[in-house]
């Protein structure tokens, strides 16, 4: 397995190195070492696995090289746990002498690592970590969200679309942590600013096995639609129970893109049919570049790509394209990071050029996508509407927007009417 070889090479290198100075300047022809942190054990292990797969796929397709230099990917398991993530980040930076860090999945692990690199300037790229503030109020210079998105970025066009369907009353049900607060906040703010009303918000702890208490209440609220923010097993269970309690078909279900991600729906049946979310990526998109990517991914891994595989692939691509513009100079961090911020992603599987905004977060054409049965009888996401050039700030002015508090359970941006 390639990863093991990379790992062993890395370990041997580290073990053989004598008591060296903490930062060894290497010639620009030596290998580029990348530290990849992902949850390979724990509840989100499947997503973590795909992060590694997607990331490695990019380099395998490009001869194991980045900007003309050999690449060594050193993978560490963060176990979905911020303490472990911090330990592994330290190990990658101090022992394995990597030039950059990539990864993490859960927001709390990403935040722990981000705070760590704040102190030592190591470039850290976060295609999956969606915590809003890392590219807003709490921006860290060396943390760039290549190929990623902020939590509140996509629910806003979805709210606009919902208003266009004539829906005026919604309720939200969401996992009770920052990622959920931010997605719901993004949705609620835009929805209420457009004249809609939020009749109720249900927050539940992660890994809730039984949604029946919330579904009972939702059924009686008299809403036009339900916005659900769920990831992983919670997403599976919510959609199943939504169907089995008879809400499917009665009240439209819309939600966060994670809910209908391939990592969730690939093991599910018709309970996911017709669920609508907003996302930058839709694996059923008719765009030829996307179709080609999906086909290659499917050939390699025998499954349709999820957000995790796609984002890490794109992240690797972005850094590669950026490094090419500075002839592979990772050693000079200012030059490297400057290049990343200035480079537009031209080869994206989305089939469009993607730019970073001034805060290190990409601007996307967002698709409203619906789950339908695909050609092989499996469910996938098809785009049904488009919103071009959606940034993390939507239609707001960044400076004004950042004056409002970050989304939380107590602040959901709801405009009173």
């Amino acid at each position: 397995m390639d990863r093991r070889t990379f790992l062993k090479t890395g370990a041997a290198f580290a073990a053989a190195a004598p008591i060296a100075a903490p930062y060894v300047a290497r010639a620009q022809s030596g290998p580029v070492r990348i530290g990849l942190l992902a949850p390979l054990t724990g509840v989100v292990a499947a997503g973590g696995r795909e992060m590694v797969d997607g990331f490695n796929m990019y380099f395998e397709e490009h001869g194991g090289e980045i900007a003309g230099r050999k690449v060594e990917v050193i993978v560490e398991d963060d176990a979905a746990n911020p303490d472990t993530a911090l330990q592994k980040a330290r190990r990658l930076v101090e022992q394995a002498n990597v030039s950059m860090l990539f990864g993490d999945l859960l927001a709390n692990t990403g935040l722990a690592v981000a705070n760590y690199v704040k102190g030592n300037g190591m470039p850290y790229f976060i295609p999956i970590i969606a915590a809003d503030d890392l590219t807003q109020r709490a921006r860290i210079k060396n943390v760039v969200r290549v190929a990623g998105y902020t939590a509140s970025q996509f629910p806003r066009p979805l709210a606009d679309w919902a208003l266009k369907q004539g829906w005026r009353k919604v309720a939200t049900v969401s996992q009770d942590y920052t990622f959920g607060h931010e997605q719901c906040g993004g949705f609620c703010q835009t929805f209420t600013e457009g004249g809609g009303k939020v009749l109720g918000q249900f927050w539940h702890p992660l890994n809730t096995s039984d949604f029946s208490p919330y579904l009972g209440q939702l059924a009686n609220l008299g809403v036009d639609a339900v916005f659900a923010m769920e990831t992983g097993a919670d997403a599976t269970r919510l959609m199943q129970q939504y169907a089995s309690f008879g809400l499917k078909g009665q009240i439209p279900l819309i939600g966060a893109m994670n809910m209908t991600d391939q990592s969730v729906i690939r093991t599910m049946g018709d309970e996911v049919d017709g669920v609508i979310v907003a996302a930058h990526f839709a694996e059923g998109s008719p765009d030829p570049v996307t179709k080609d990517f999906v086909a290659r991914y499917q050939k390699k891994f025998q499954k349709l790509p999820s957000l995790y595989g796609f984002s890490m692939y794109s992240g690797a691509m972005w850094v590669d394209e950026a490094l090419k513009t500075v002839k592979g100079n990772v050693e000079d961090r200012d030059v490297f990071l400057g290049a990343v911020m200035k480079t537009d992603l031209t080869g994206s599987p989305l089939g469009k050029v993607v730019k970073l905004d001034d805060y290190g977060n990409p601007i996307y054409d967002v698709a409203i996508r619906k789950v339908v049965k695909g050609p092989q009888g499996k469910y996938w996401n098809m785009p049904i509407a488009q919103y071009p050039n959606v940034s993390q700030f939507w239609t707001y002015d960044p400076a004004t927007y950042m004056k409002q508090p970050p989304y939380s359970r107590d602040f959901q941006g709801i405009k009173k009417s």
Binding site: V43, G47, S212, G216
Partner: protein, 286 residues
């Protein structure tokens, strides 16, 4: 309003039914063998995965469930005869050994099945919901509720109306005397362990259809089982039933009314019972 309450009540009851199925196995092992089997949750999850694999392969829910019970019974056999036999009589060593087994099983199932969430396929006749008394309630959950009652009756008959049951009861009360009477107590212990394991497997397969199967499900169900058995009392079937009802209802109500205190609602009563009445509501002194 009353419709809402009946709905939540049913939710609590159906969850309690599943908890009872799993915890009854736990309390049998704890009661008779005096082993706190911390691998019980892992047995549940492994049973669930095995049931899922079989049901997907054969297309039959029933085969999946039976297969799950058999597979977990086999694992239980290996656990008891292959590992626990080396630490007989040492309570704490047994506990810690089963904890190690739990870690191992959890990691092995992660390797075999990956981290994706799996759902046991619901059989056709149990899909959909029924309408009654102004409620719209899933058929499958009602099935789980019924199954819980059936398991209770079956176990009650076994424990109270059969010779094996009499031996188990006597063993729970006083294992030494039974052995002194020439009964092959080892065989009774083994059968009980297998039964307990099979019940965990049954729970996993049945629960896998509405609670789903994922890497940390084992720790969660173990925690609930511990609470049920501690509150209800070691070795008591009625205790397991009452404990399951209390924990199941508390959990559902807690989720709705005090989601902040989700853990406290389970661990608070458990800690209180352990501190002030360790035998639980229906347990008997050793």
């Amino acid at each position: 309003m009353s419709g809402l309450n009946a709905f939540q009540l049913l939710n609590g009851l159906t969850f309690a039914a599943l908890l009872f199925i799993v915890a009854s196995g736990f309390t049998l092992i704890f009661g008779l063998l005096r082993i706190v089997n911390l691998a019980h949750g892992a047995l549940y999850l492994t049973g669930g995965y095995a049931g899922y694999a079989l049901a997907s392969l054969t297309g039959s829910f029933l085969l999946g469930v039976l297969g799950a019970m058999a597979a977990v019974a086999v694992i239980g056999f290996v656990l008891d005869q292959g590992l626990l036999r080396f630490v007989r009589g040492h309570e704490l060593r047994q506990v810690l050994l089963t904890l190690g087994v739990a870690f191992l099983l959890n990691d092995l199932t992660l390797v075999i099945f990956g981290g994706d969430t799996y759902t046991m396929p619901t059989p056709e006749p149990l899909k959909g919901a029924v309408r009654f008394a102004g409620l719209f309630y899933p058929k499958y959950r009602l099935f789980v509720l019924a199954l819980g009652v059936v398991v209770f009756i079956a176990l009650w008959l076994l424990i109270n109306k059969t010779r094996l049951g009499a031996l188990i009861r006597a063993g729970v009360d006083d294992a030494e005397t039974i052995a002194a009477m020439g009964i092959n107590i080892r065989r009774i212990f083994l059968l009980t362990f297998l039964l307990g394991a099979a019940l965990a497997g049954l729970g996993g397969a049945v629960g896998g259809a509405f609670l789903t199967l994922y890497p940390s499900a084992d720790a969660e169900i173990l925690v609930f089982s511990l609470a049920v058995v501690i509150i209800g009392g070691r070795g008591s079937l009625v205790g397991a039933a009452v404990g399951a009802l209390i924990v199941g209802l508390l959990n559902t109500v807690g989720q709705v009314m005090f989601p902040e205190f989700a853990y406290f609602v389970i661990f608070g009563p458990m800690a209180a019972i352990l501190a002030f009445r360790p035998l639980g509501l229906f347990g008997k002194a050793a």
